[in-house]
């Protein structure tokens, strides 16, 4: 049974039919301009990106100020907005250049920053007041009274800790009038974010400044120290001690989150491919739109779940939103499932008259392969690849050069940014 909140205008009745009037924002990750464009094209209302400074994921390909400008302009055409993550906990040496950086972000038209360190919050307020300030999950925000604190500090939005459950979110919404952003899909820290320095100790890389080396995902052996004697708490053949959580997947909880009035539903993964972003965003887009249009008759479609699985390379779980995760939501002695479909090409152009698609190759494929096209403007369909040509119309049998421009015949119309997958046999 869904928890209904009455103090916020989330829903109303039109002609005897209940509709959702407060549609949450679908927030996508993007590690590059190309990913940003794909995310927006596939239905994201907002995209979060990293700049070249002050953000975590220091090894993600991050945006220059000029790329941010282009991203903002592109998003604007779709009515979408851009947020920039500036969520490091700064050391003294990181304080230089912050003001200029925030002013530049503001000037290019970014809507807000996602931030953890009060240094950056206060500096932003002072030098770039047009930017919205969103509290990062790095602050491990887990209770309504702390939410109230950040509201009193004038923040626009808070991103909750990943450890917060549905009932806790309901209470936060009830107690405090502030936008709430919650994760719905993607990889997650197994520690409270910001409260883990395994990387610092194990590899001298600062996890809270973007250096995380994911040591939590390694295997360890568990021992007990009994009066100075080390006794193994495992036997030969036992799976090692592991701290790897299954990835978050809340697709089936989206209706519940919408009814709670959560303002922004966030997909994680700035390092992921355009294929991942396109697949995940398009599916969540469909779920949100379908539920809001007709909540009474809403049902999760099997095809949506199958579609999501096509870009999954790790097992998934509903950790914390649906209650304290059990051991079943961790991975022990577990081999990742192989992806059933590979991303094989990105549509650049389609010639209506000749029926020829121009494609950028993203993975090996050849004449005779079974492939699938999908995109926001087409119904997904499967076909067999016929004759392939290169850019200069030379015949070829295999497309085996990354990013090569190739062409072949497709008898249904395609559009720019549609994607092609190949079945992984």
């Amino acid at each position: 049974m869904l928890q209904l909140i009455e103090n916020e205008k989330i829903r109303e009745t039109v002609n005897g039919k209940r509709v959702i009037t407060k549609k949450p924002e679908l927030l996508a990750p993007a590690g590059s301009l190309e990913k940003l464009k794909v995310a927006v094209h596939y239905g994201a209302d907002a995209v979060f990106i990293g700049g070249q400074e002050f953000g975590l994921r220091s090894n993600a390909s991050n945006f220059t100020i000029e790329e941010m400008r282009e991203g903002v302009e592109f998003a604007k055409k779709y009515g979408a907005v851009i947020y920039v993550t500036t969520n490091i906990f700064a050391h003294n040496e990181n304080m230089d250049g912050l003001e200029e950086y925030l002013q530049a972000i503001e000037e290019v038209g970014v809507k807000g920053i996602i931030v953890a360190d009060p240094l950056i919050i206060e500096t932003c307020r002072r030098v770039a007041p047009k930017l919205e300030i969103h509290l990062s999950t790095q602050q491990s925000l887990s209770n309504w009274k702390a939410v109230k604190y950040w509201k009193q500090e004038g923040l626009h939005r808070v991103v909750l800790a990943r450890e917060v459950g549905a009932e806790e979110m309901r209470k936060m919404k009830e107690e405090v009038d502030i936008e709430i952003e919650a994760f719905v899909h993607g990889a997650m820290c197994i520690a409270y974010s910001g409260r883990c320095v395994l990387s610092n100790h194990m590899t001298a890389r600062d996890s809270n400044r973007g250096g995380c080396c994911q040591s939590c995902r390694w295997d360890y052996d568990l021992y007990e120290n009994v009066e100075g004697e080390e006794q193994a708490l495992f036997q030969d053949g036992d799976a090692p001690f592991a701290m790897s959580p299954k990835d978050l997947k809340l697709i089936e909880s989206i209706p519940h989150m919408i009814e709670l009035g959560i303002d922004s539903l966030k997909v994680e993964g700035r390092m992921k491919s355009i294929h991942y972003v396109a697949t995940v965003i398009s599916v969540y887009r469909k779920v949100i739109d379908a539920y809001c249009a007709d909540p009474e008759n809403f049902k999760i479609k099997k095809e949506w779940l199958e579609e999501l699985d096509r870009c999954a390379n790790r097992a998934t779980a509903s950790s914390f939103f649906e209650g304290e995760p059990s051991y079943k939501q961790q991975m022990f002695g577990f081999n990742a499932p192989k992806m059933k479909w590979d991303f094989a090409g990105l549509v650049l152009d389609y010639d209506q008259e000749t029926g020829i698609v121009t494609l950028q190759q993203r993975n090996y494929f050849k004449t005779g392969d079974t492939i699938e096209f999908f995109g926001p403007d087409i119904d997904t369909f499967t076909m067999e690849v016929g004759q392939i040509w290169d850019e200069d119309n030379n015949e070829m049998e295999v497309a085996n050069h990354p990013l090569q421009i190739v062409k072949f015949k497709v008898d249904r119309p395609l559009f720019k940014y549609n994607m092609m997958r190949k079945e992984n046999k």
């Binding site: 040496e93 950040w150 409270y192 100790h201 052996d221």
Partner: protein, 310 residues
């Protein structure tokens, strides 16, 4: 130059007596429902008893309310703060801003020490929380000596730095040990062992051993080494650091008492007899710690002389 406070973590009320004799200036106590990774568990009654004892020696007592709170403990936090207010302790140690809101709403007058552990990394933050009521900032243990000195130069509140003991590297809300045993179908194994707090993870590649335990707040994993700065205190003394903390979590009462006394000797030597005397005895003090150091706990200097990249 003012003498820094020597702050320690007692395991029991009786232990406080021994630590007062050993030369401790201040004590961190509390209970796991509100405080994180405490050396001992003190009920409200025991906090009262401890406070009387500590105050009768003109020393200070701080109560830890530095948990990452979820909604389920917010009401209990209010009640707890009222009780602690009546006892008259010298400070509350907090990390979660919920405590700031609660203190304001309840009119609590106990001074606040800001200690979020890993995220206290620059002087701006220290001053930010000072403006919101913190009298002291406790710095992250992942900082270098240069960073600590620069923070002290620019910070308005008192600065506290850890000088000895284990540091927490990781806190998860999940029951990671329980889950591991459950996965293997051995639920009782964890129940039998939970109270002992003597498990560790072996990292074969780095040849490190990380203590790990579970409590109300989740799963905690600790540094493979005990930091020990007894022979490296000069720069901290010169910088004027206000409080030097020895965190005795997961150590025995005897060890905590002995090490406290050795730091007492180090601080007194420097401030009462001069830098030369400290320089003369510091290696001897270090050797005394090495003699009683548990074999599974090598000593190092934490991040004081170690750079991190990112």
């Amino acid at each position: 130059m003012t003498k820094p406070e020597l702050l320690v973590t007692p395991k029991s009320v009786d232990h406080i007596k021994a630590l007062l004799d050993a030369g401790a200036d201040a004590f961190v106590i509390g209970e796991q429902k509100f405080g994180l990774r405490l050396a001992g568990e003190f009920s409200v009654e025991q906090v009262k008893e401890a406070t009387e004892l500590i105050h009768s020696s003109n020393k200070k007592v701080y109560v830890a309310v530095n948990a990452l709170f979820h909604n389920d403990r917010i009401d209990a936090l209010d009640d707890y703060l009222r009780e602690i207010q009546n006892i008259g302790v010298d400070a509350l140690i907090f990390g979660d801003p919920a405590v700031i809101v609660a203190v304001r709403e309840l009119g609590i007058t106990i001074p606040l020490h800001w200690n979020p552990e890993t995220t206290a990394t620059n002087w701006f933050q220290a001053n930010y929380w000072a403006e919101r009521g913190a009298k002291r900032a406790v710095l992250a243990r992942e900082l270098s000596i240069d960073e600590i000195v620069e923070i002290k130069e620019n910070a308005k509140p008192e600065i506290e730095v850890q000088i000895h003991g284990m540091t927490c590297m990781f806190q998860s809300k999940r029951k990671l040990l329980g889950n591991y045993f459950l996965y293997r179908g051995e639920a009782m194994e964890i129940e039998n062992r939970k109270e002992n707090k003597n498990m560790f993870l072996h990292d074969k590649e780095r040849k490190n051993k990380y203590p790990i335990y579970e409590d109300l707040n989740g799963t905690h994993i600790f540094s493979p080494n005990d930091m020990c700065l007894i022979d490296e205190l000069t720069e901290l003394f010169e910088a004027g650091i206000d409080s030097l903390k020895f965190d005795g979590v997961l150590h025995s009462e005897e060890y905590i008492t002995t090490v406290t006394n050795l730091y007492r000797q180090a601080i007194d030597a420097y401030f009462d007899q001069g830098e030369e005397v400290y320089e003369e005895i510091k290696n001897e003090l270090l050797e005394k710690i090495e003699e009683i150091q548990p074999p599974l706990r090598p000593l190092d200097t934490g991040f004081i002389f170690k750079e991190t990249v990112y």
